[in-house]
Symmetry: C2
Subunit: 320 residues, 2 copies
């Protein structure tokens, strides 16, 4: 299983290239939440999301021979950009499999980092199969989005920075997609703060990890329709789930509309833009199922990649 | 004239209540600008703008007798909220003179901090006269928006933090309204970094300080129509202008549409929301009249108070 030393080793590899993202606080949000909140702003990370940490750690861990072979990844989101930038920085060739109907800014950004984008038809083709075929035919290394200990360890470096920047916390909330972010950080934080509670949050429709956690084994759901596009995973991975089962204290759910309310509050009070997935843990803190009061709570804002039109239409629809 | 020790004294007064705002960097904006940029994020300051620093310093410097008399200020913008919050924290009664047609969120925020808002008709009445009358009739202390050495010294504490957070800089760009921000910081930064160049930026239509700087004496213009509402001042003050004349290296101009382009880039690449006034110095850095290359440049993002509708409509209009 992933260990603390995997994460400190990852930090040695990535610390000179990642942003040490700031931790923001807001007196008015503390008053609303009834707790002291510490927002770790990975929306300010390179490529606009935490995914760069894991991708860079993975690529920097490849042997010289593997680097020469190049990499391939499949993603319509932040992982694509993370792998593309890491590859460019390390001089590795990258092909990224993306659906033809991906938002054009994401495709452009991925190409902008120098990756070769392989488009596919989301309806007729299976991106994982395409990725594996390219890996096999071209001898490229497949860079999975979450179920990989180098990826998990890279994401876990967020916890190292939070411990240094904030000190002891009572509870830390994470968004959960495939589980790479929460698993790496659960290992990091439980080591550094033995009493911390680690809580993962999903949206009600993207509840694969919630169901798996409750059942004690991996549950697969159909591709969920949720505004939190980082949560359109259908199941945790064997590696991430092993850590989640052992190190995470709870997985809770919020609705899509609670996520939009959380995005708006973050915009209004903190002056920052986060994508829906990133607002999910704050939505859970506002909902406060656990009835916390007067605690020190960490919240990971995982990314800020949402274009202006989407941002506005989401928030505008629900202006009260 | 304002001295460096005024600013360190101000920092002693305010350091426990202000946010030490983060400095953000962006590799992609560095590439676009051809310089290494350091954004000091006062949009994350309490009340969403640097104005809280000066207001708190001013109120914390009042004698016990003066505090009992209460304060009065006139402002339709961030100064109102800065004074209101400082007053609440120090247990001082505050009346704020605001035009009846002020944006309702700003009025609500000012009332939310516990200040008494005195509305007036922008067409028929003179807010300065109303403010002075209230000060006289009620014995309140008038808190001016910029032309006051305690206000200037409070704003200058930004420069102290920048020196600690970034180290030596080649050049620092500020937005200029009445000159409180740039004058305080010119004194702080020229003391800490003797070779730094201090550049103020106004919009073409709000060019009162530009004209005054060129002429060497205070020039008054009619109330300018510019999207940078922090620049709707008609003249610098005698105290701020004295410092600007002696300590500022240049004042340059940008157009309103260059400001909108800068706001959009800040949104897209940095994932933060700034008000138009705050984007003005970055617009000048992009325009790069001085043809800087490979320099370390500081940019003060002065505030983030813009509501979603305005933000969207400004950026949307000019989407390319």
């Amino acid at each position: 299983m992933l260990s603390f030393s995997d994460i400190t080793a990852a930090y040695e590899r990535i610390r000179r290239v990642v942003h040490r993202t700031p931790v923001l606080t807001s007196v008015s949000l503390d008053a609303i939440a009834g707790n002291a909140l510490f927002f770790k702003c990975e929306n300010f990370q390179r490529v606009g999301a935490f995914k760069f940490r894991g991708a860079y750690n993975k690529l920097a861990s490849l042997t010289p021979e593997e680097r020469k072979r190049g990499v391939v990844a499949f993603s319509s989101g932040n992982h694509a950009q993370g792998v593309a930038l890491a590859a460019r920085l390390l001089g590795v060739s990258a092909r990224i499999v993306m659906p033809t109907d991906s938002p054009s800014p994401k495709m452009e950004a991925t190409r902008g980092y120098g990756a070769d984008v392989v488009e596919y038809d989301r309806i007729k083709e299976d991106r994982e199969a395409i990725g594996r075929r390219i890996a096999e035919e071209e001898g490229r290394i497949l860079v999975p989005p979450f179920n990989d200990e180098f990826i998990m360890a890279g994401q876990g470096t967020i916890g190292l920075e939070m411990a240094e920047q904030i000190g002891e916390l009572d509870c830390v909330f994470f968004p959960v997609g495939g589980g790479g972010l929460i698993s790496g950080n659960a290992v990091a934080l439980k080591h550094l703060m033995p009493n911390v509670r680690i809580v993962g949050v999903e949206t009600e429709r993207g509840n694969d990890v919630f169901l798996s956690f409750r059942k004690g084994e991996i549950v697969t759901i159909p591709v969920p329709e949720t505004i939190a596009d980082g949560m359109r995973t259908t199941a945790p991975g064997p590696l991430t789930f092993e850590v989640i089962r052992k190190r995470v204290d709870d997985i809770v759910l919020v609705s899509d509309s609670e996520v939009v309310d959380a995005m708006r509050l973050i915009y209004e009070r903190m002056k920052i833009v986060v994508e829906p997935t990133a607002a999910v843990p704050f939505a859970a803190v506002l909902k406060n199922d656990r009835n916390l009061r007067g605690r020190k709570i960490g919240i990971v804002l995982s990314g800020g990649n949402i274009d202006l039109e989407n941002f506005f239409s989401l928030l505008h629809k629900s202006v009260r």
